[in-house]
């Protein structure tokens, strides 16, 4: 259902979609304001790179750099408003089973080429392949500025879900560790939904056991403030 507006007169949302992303490849989907966009891993350890351009103007794109400044943080979290290079929110993070992503690193050359090809295949013309939102990529930013890149903790089925605020063309690349393009092997799924109840149930939020242990020993008996603690979720009927 569309966003709960005072004036509900609006066209129905476009159809829902499930788009598999092959290993080493990229896909595009169109999304409309009010829809839900989910990116989901199919295999453990998989990362995904997200790009978007507004339908109204391909010169306005999703920017990790402007997103950091807009939110005043180097990190991508629940509730983060992802904004364009013109500082307008385009996607907002509403659910996230992994909660480890990256807003700092560039896309690989192979991903940029895959996205350019996917965008062209879909008939879109964009002035630039911008820098990506690196989903499921775990980087630890240390106080001295050091970026520590860790193996992705993603499980099969980890899902990151946003509400769409600007009509957009979205591209998702699924980098292959070997740089090999394996069109027969889908490693990421892009889901577009009109109802949150139409999504599968999220995995329990991933907890970094090593970090939790470190925090616990550091605070010696004081219960550690684990941001990712599981919170009760509002119940809703599933059909």
């Amino acid at each position: 259902m569309p966003l709960l507006m005072v004036d509900p007169a609006r066209d129905p949302l476009p159809p829902e979609a499930d788009v598999p992303v092959p290993r080493g490849g990229a896909v595009t989907v169109e999304v409309r304001q009010g829809q839900l966009l989910s990116i989901e891993t199919v295999v453990p350890g998989q990362v995904a790179e997200l790009f978007a351009w507004t339908i109204a103007d391909a010169g306005e794109w999703l920017s990790p750099h402007h997103t950091r400044v807009f939110g005043g943080t180097f990190e991508l979290r629940m509730g983060t408003r992802l904004v364009t290079n013109r500082r307008r929110p385009i996607l907002v993070v509403g659910r996230d089973s992994l909660r480890h992503h990256d807003l700092l690193l560039p896309a690989s050359e192979a991903s940029v080429a895959a996205v350019a090809a996917a965008v062209a295949r879909a008939g879109f013309v964009v002035p630039r392949i911008p820098d990506p939102i690196n989903l499921f990529l775990e980087t630890q930013l240390h106080p001295d500025g050091r970026i520590e890149v860790r193996p992705s903790p993603a499980r099969a089925g980890d899902r990151w879900t946003t509400r769409v605020l600007l009509d957009a063309v979205v591209a998702v690349a699924a980098p292959s560790p070997s740089l090999a393009n394996d069109a027969d092997h889908s490693v990421v799924t892009v889901r577009v939904r009109n109802e949150v109840t139409a999504l599968p149930v999220d995995l329990p939020v991933w907890i970094d056991e090593g970090a939790a242990r470190t925090a616990a020993s550091a605070t010696a008996g004081i219960s550690p403030p684990i941001e990712s603690a599981i919170v009760p979720r509002k119940r809703h009927d599933r059909r």
Binding site: H65, P127, D131, L141
Partner: protein
């Protein structure tokens, strides 16, 4: 030292520069506490530019320091930091642009780094959609608790400088940032000097 160009850029405005491979670009913070947004393109192909995003990957850090080789969006070294009086620079904050002021501060029509930087390179055929992320000289952006971006002023003092050696033929621009609403330039944009020559500028 043979000087190719010597430019004083007013605070909040922009200016262009060019350097041949092996030449030195010296940027002086004349009055101190001033951020200078800095971009560079390869003269042979302006589709290749100095990329702080790729520098972060290559250096595995959001900060740069003396001795670092700074890379392009094609992951090739294009500049090397040969002298750095300050040691505090930013490689993460995008240039302030019209929407920074209009949307986030409610001030349309403010001078901004994006247009300053672009005005100095557009004659070379650079489209505004193809402008790179800037390296923000002297900008002070610490990582504070819980991964947040610290907002504070540069620690640079009058006359302090950074010297970059060009590793290819380059052109680019410099914008002493016009931000006068929040910390970043001590709430007072001031001029910077950019000198290109066959050695570091000592004057």
């Amino acid at each position: 030292m043979r000087v190719r160009s010597d430019l004083v850029v007013a605070g909040g405005f922009g200016g262009g520069w060019e350097a041949k491979a092996g030449e030195f670009v010296t940027v002086v913070d004349l009055e101190g506490e001033q951020t200078g947004d800095f971009i560079a393109f390869l003269a042979q192909d302006p589709e290749e530019w100095l990329s702080p995003v790729h520098c972060r990957e290559a250096l595995r850090s959001i900060f740069v320091r003396a001795g670092d080789q700074l890379v392009s969006n094609r992951r090739r070294p294009v500049l090397e930091i040969v002298r750095d009086d300050v040691g505090v620079h930013d490689a993460t904050i995008p240039a302030c642009d019209p929407t920074r002021y209009a949307v986030e501060f409610g001030v349309p029509g403010h001078r901004n780094c994006l247009e300053n930087l672009w005005a100095a390179v557009r004659e070379r055929g650079v489209a505004i959609e193809r402008m790179p992320e800037p390296l923000n000289l002297f900008q002070n952006t610490p990582v504070v608790g819980d991964g947040r971006i610290g907002l504070t002023d540069p620690v640079s003092r009058p006359g302090q400088r950074i010297v970059l050696r060009a590793l290819a033929d380059l052109f680019g621009s410099l914008s002493p940032c016009p931000q006068d609403i929040i910390p970043g330039n001590g709430l007072r944009p001031t001029p910077m000097r950019a000198v290109v020559g066959d050695g570091p500028f000592e004057g």
